[in-house]
Structures are given as C-alpha cells and as structure tokens.
C-alpha cells in the first residue's frame, strides 16, 4: 500500500518508507567508526553490574611496566590501562584510580602526547579524591578519545587501533575472569561480541607496513583469531563455565604478551 502511494513520487520520498528488513549486502557496507562502533569498557561493565555485583578489585592486576620503547606496545598498554581505570572506578577505589591515572600519563608522555592529556590526568586525580565516580567514567572515556585524537594529530593514526585493541582485550580478560569464577549463564552470554573482534582484525590488517614489522603486532592476529571463535557463538547458545575459562586463558595470554617488556 505504501509502495503504491509512492508511485511517481520523488526520490526523497523513498526515505519515508522504513524497510522491514535489510539485506546482508547492506549490513556488510555499514559504517564502522572507532568512537561509535567500538563499545567502551564502561558499557560492558554496566551490563555486568545489572546481573550481579562483581568484586572488581578481584580483577586488578599487578602494576605493568611503563618504560616500553616500542610505540605499538605503548599504545596497546595505554588501552589496557584505560580499561584498568574503568575497573577501579567501578570498584570505587580512589587510590587505584589515581595510580592508574599516573601510569596513563607516564605512557602518554613516552608517546609525546602528554600535553593534551595532562589536564585530563589532573581532573582524574581530583575527581578520584572527591569520589565523583560518575564523572570519572566520563573522564576516562574522554581521556581515551583525547589520546586517539592526539595520535591522529601527530600522524600516529595507526596507533589508535592498538589503543582500542588493548582496552578491549584487557576488559575481556577482567570480565571473563569474574564470570569464570562466579558463573551464571546470563553473564556468560554477555561475552558474545563477534563483530568487535572482526572489526579489530580488519583494522589490524589495514595497519601500515612499518607497524606490521613490529614483532608484537605481527603476533596479534593469531591470538585474535582464536578469541574471535570463542566470542562468536550463536544467540541461541550459552557458553559453559569451561568455555568462559578458555576465553579468559586466551585473553590473559594475549595481555601477558602485550605487557612483557621487550
């Protein structure tokens, strides 16, 4: 009926008709924008907070080195530290937020992008001291975006992919670690995210040749390929506790590779 009414109508009128289904070819061409398509660690933690009361302090890790010399490795660890920041905010742990904030600034300095980020670091410290947890979540997200913007401005665009990758994998390690030890089917189903790993692998493959010569970057895709299979289960399937443990082991293995001092 709607189609009949539009016969002879100008081209723009087609936009008034809302398609009930979209073909796979249209979905395949959808825009994928880093700051929109990649969820923040905060979104995953918010979902998990709804089905349980996780003890995020149990998912802390020992402080990581901050004296790397490889820029890709610094970018990967910067992403991981930002994810650590989200965990500390969820745990409402003021001291841990400040410690992580300082490590983020140290790594940012080694990339030469600290000037833009230092202001943000001071805010993080102030908000943590005042226990302003909601504002801190916004500050962490803004910090991540400013790090990426600063990288773009100094023509280090390829490093922004590595910041996203580092953040996602550290978030996955922490969340799968919690679920593996406190298993519920509902929580386990939150780990389904096939498109995120596909996007990360696609962006990794598109990195410039010089970045691919980095030993750490060279090995990332095989790790991600394994992890992609683990988070690509059908919507009708629920991962078992053993499945979650395997995912956690794979994420931990990759994080250890990323943090190992070269």
């Amino acid at each position: 009926m709607a189609m009949l009414a539009l016969t002879g109508a100008p081209a723009w009128a087609a936009a008034l008709v809302v398609p009930q289904t979209l073909p796979a070819s249209a979905l395949a061409q959808a825009v994928q924008e880093d700051t929109f398509t990649m969820p923040t660690p905060g979104e995953l933690l918010a979902a998990l907070n709804k089905v349980g009361k996780p003890n995020w302090q149990a998912q802390y890790r020992a402080p990581i080195p901050t004296a790397y010399t490889s820029r890709p490795q610094i970018a990967l660890n910067l992403g991981g530290l930002i994810a650590d920041g989200y965990l500390a905010v969820e745990a409402e742990d003021s001291q841990q937020v400040q410690n992580i904030g300082r490590d983020i600034m140290t790594l940012a300095k080694t990339l030469g992008i600290s000037e833009d980020i230092l202001r943000r670091g001071k805010s993080i410290e102030d908000f943590a001291e005042n226990n302003e947890w909601s504002t801190l979540k916004e500050e962490l997200e803004a910090t991540q975006n400013e790090v990426k913007l600063a990288m773009d401005q100094q023509h280090d665009e390829e490093l922004t992919t590595l910041v996203s990758l580092g953040g996602w994998i550290r978030g996955t390690e922490a969340v799968s670690g919690w679920i593996a030890n406190n298993y519920t089917p509902e929580e386990a189903r939150l780990l389904r995210q096939p498109a995120i790993v596909a996007l990360l692998r696609q962006k990794l493959a598109a990195l410039p040749e010089k970045t691919h010569t980095d030993d750490l970057v060279k090995g990332l895709d095989s790790h991600l390929s394994t992890i992609q299979q683990m988070v690509s289960f059908p919507t009708t399937q629920t991962p078992t506790q053993d499945d979650v443990k395997k995912l956690n082991a794979a994420a931990t293995d990759l994080i250890e590779t990323i943090t190992s001092k070269k």
Partner: protein, 146 residues
C-alpha cells in the same frame, strides 16, 4: 510542489560556498547538528543514561540514508539520538538486529530531531539507520546507555 521546493533547496545548498570550519575542524552545520543532538541526548541523562563521548556526523541528500554499526550488550538500555543542523529539516532513525530485521523501539520525534530507545535481548552487532526524508541536511548521531 513540495518536490520542487526540495530540489530548489538542494540546488541552493550545492551552489553555496563551503561553510566555515571552526577550530576543531567542524563546520558550522556540524556544530549546530551536534549541539541539537546533545540537547536531545542530554535529556536522557536525567533518567540515569550516560552519554557516550563519541558521535557520527555527515550530510544526507533527500532520500538518502546511512547505516552505522554499533555493538551492544544485553541488559543495557540504549537511546540513539539524531538531529539535523536545520530546524526545518526532519530526520528519521531506526534500529536493526544483526539479521537485518527492523526492531521495535521506543520512538521520539520532533521538528528536526529523532530518537530510538531499546534494550537488546542479545549482545552483539546492531545497525542504526538514519534516513533523510526532507531537504539536504547535516546530521549528528549520538547514543547513551545505562
């Protein structure tokens, strides 16, 4: 008559010189669309929604649409908000699941802004479709979650 008006607007828009860019590299139209989207999305923060610090901007000609992929988590609630730079240029927004099926969402529409709210049953990829039924317009898409 309306068709002629739409085409006249498009021709006029194409004939205009590029809009001035601000210090951040956004055009005046992008700044206006961004402000209108934030104004709409900001209203949801009163209900505890957190505004994601990221947006997607562009320009749509009459009849054009754009599809943007997002990755969502089951159990969270989301609002996708879009606005155009021109208060007289309407815009439409819809959400699809990973099989391409149109989802039932909680809709909001006013003159040049629209929003779709929903809570996904499954974690995974979803697609936000922004469509322009009116004049050529610059738009800004944002989202919030809780």
């Amino acid at each position: 008559m309306r068709s002629f008006f739409q085409r006249a607007l498009l021709i006029a828009a194409l004939a205009l010189p590029p809009l001035a860019a601000n210090a951040a590299g956004e055009t005046d139209a992008e700044v206006a669309a961004h402000a209108a989207a934030l104004d709409l999305g900001g209203a949801f923060t009163n209900d505890g929604f957190k505004l994601r610090d990221g947006d997607y901007e562009g320009t749509l000609q009459p009849g054009q649409s754009v599809l943007v992929q997002v990755n969502l988590y089951a159990g969270n609630e989301y609002w996708f908000s879009v606005a155009t730079s021109d208060p007289k240029a309407p815009i439409a927004i819809n959400v699809y699941d990973e099989t391409g099926k149109l989802l039932k969402t909680n809709p909001y529409t006013d003159a040049h802004r629209a929003a779709a709210g929903f809570s996904p049953d499954n974690s995974g990829p979803y697609y936000v479709r922004v469509a322009n039924p009116g004049a050529a317009a610059t738009y800004c898409l944002i989202y919030s979650y809780k």
